[in-house]
Symmetry: C2
Subunit: 234 residues, 2 copies
């Protein structure tokens, strides 16, 4: 079976967290809007009786499963991308939801006033938001993920095998390195296990070939993680 | 079995979304920090091998289940507060996650620069954020929940029985009415089914007696939904 994934075709954005797990797991999918365009995405999204609020979503038997964490929960269960016992399942979903919160806050840094206005119209507010994000939020979130990783004795978040949440931590580090290269250089020595997980995910065969393919879009200033040098700092 | 819920003891906040479902379902719980205080909460939270990022969380067999949507997913499965078939389960969780997103954006309205600074130090930014939230985000989110409700022919979000997500919609409407009374007066005629669900949840025996008890804390200006009149408008 080939999944149909719908997401904005020109950015990594939230969709990338789904793409990385699909690629790591060698799960067949079509990135529909990259083949059919944005109009097809909007048309598809509005046709569901039970509509998603926003992309990304997985089209499946006429239904849409939306929200990154919800999609990954489904893929984790269906394709064994995570342990199936109750304690591990809720723990991984919990970390995934904390990642989602950090992603939303990272977006908020360049759009503190709201997504409906341009960055250029909220640069002063963004500068203040970025300072707080760099100084307070990044150490707190990343320190939490480091502690979560250290709760496991194996090389991954859980047991001795990668799971979908490892993939999401990889993508989070990727995004933060793009958005805050100076700040990450300062922080990374404090989060060695998180960085080791990042590197190990990058080295998974499926991910490695994905990153070298043209399916991996470059980061840009339309996505979640945007590199505005004036918002970075040590 | 009596659950142990941990959340800040002086606010409704995110914890309230868990409390309302527990009360609606007649599920026994202790609101631990209201009995033992904030220090006990912090001490408890830091003692887990697999730590929650933040309250609220449910203490259960030595583990912590954190994040409102994750807790409700668990309670929904364990106590039949939601249908158990796959399509309905992911659909309700999806709506719950969209509610969580709107709650985070509502908090962002009075703290656009960040939670680490006081509202008084970001009032100008908050005024701009509030305008966009009122004019663009509220109609979009609430219109989505109305469409989600209308996807079901029964009186609730799904089938002919309340589920945990109905309870969360109740609490969302409560919070928005407190935070934006003028704006909600304008919008409510456009979301009749959502308001009907709100009213029906308020009328559930467990919720009704909860709302009349001193367990229901009043809204205040330390929580997520804060009434700053200068941020409201028609």
């Amino acid at each position: 079976m080939t999944y149909r994934l719908w997401y904005w075709p020109s950015i990594q954005g939230r969709g990338e967290f789904v793409r990385v797990s699909l690629e790591a797991g060698g799960i067949d999918y079509v990135d529909c809007a990259r083949e059919e365009g944005v109009d097809a995405l909007v048309e598809n999204m509005e046709a569901y009786k039970r509509p998603p609020y926003a992309p990304p979503y997985l089209e499946l038997d006429g239904m849409a499963i939306a929200h990154v964490a919800n999609i990954l929960l489904y893929l984790g269960e269906r394709h064994a991308l995570a342990p199936s016992n109750m304690a591990d399942r809720y723990w991984l979903h919990q970390i995934e939801l904390t990642i989602a919160d950090m992603v939303a806050e990272a977006h908020n840094v360049h759009h503190p006033v709201g997504g409906g206005a341009y960055y250029e119209d909220q640069k002063d507010e963004a500068a203040r938001a970025a300072q707080q994000f760099r100084e307070e939020r990044m150490p707190k979130f990343l320190g939490h993920f480091e502690a979560a990783a250290k709760a496991n004795e194996g090389d991954w978040l859980i047991d001795h095998r990668w799971c979908y949440t490892d993939c999401s931590l990889f993508q989070l580090v990727e995004g933060l390195r793009y958005m805050f290269p100076k700040r990450m250089k300062t922080i990374e020595p404090d989060i060695p296990k998180l960085i080791a997980i990042h590197d190990a995910v990058a080295d998974l065969p499926g991910v490695k070939s994905y990153l070298n393919s043209d399916r991996r879009l470059p980061f840009n200033e339309d996505g979640i993680f945007r590199h505005y040098p004036e918002l970075d700092g040590q």
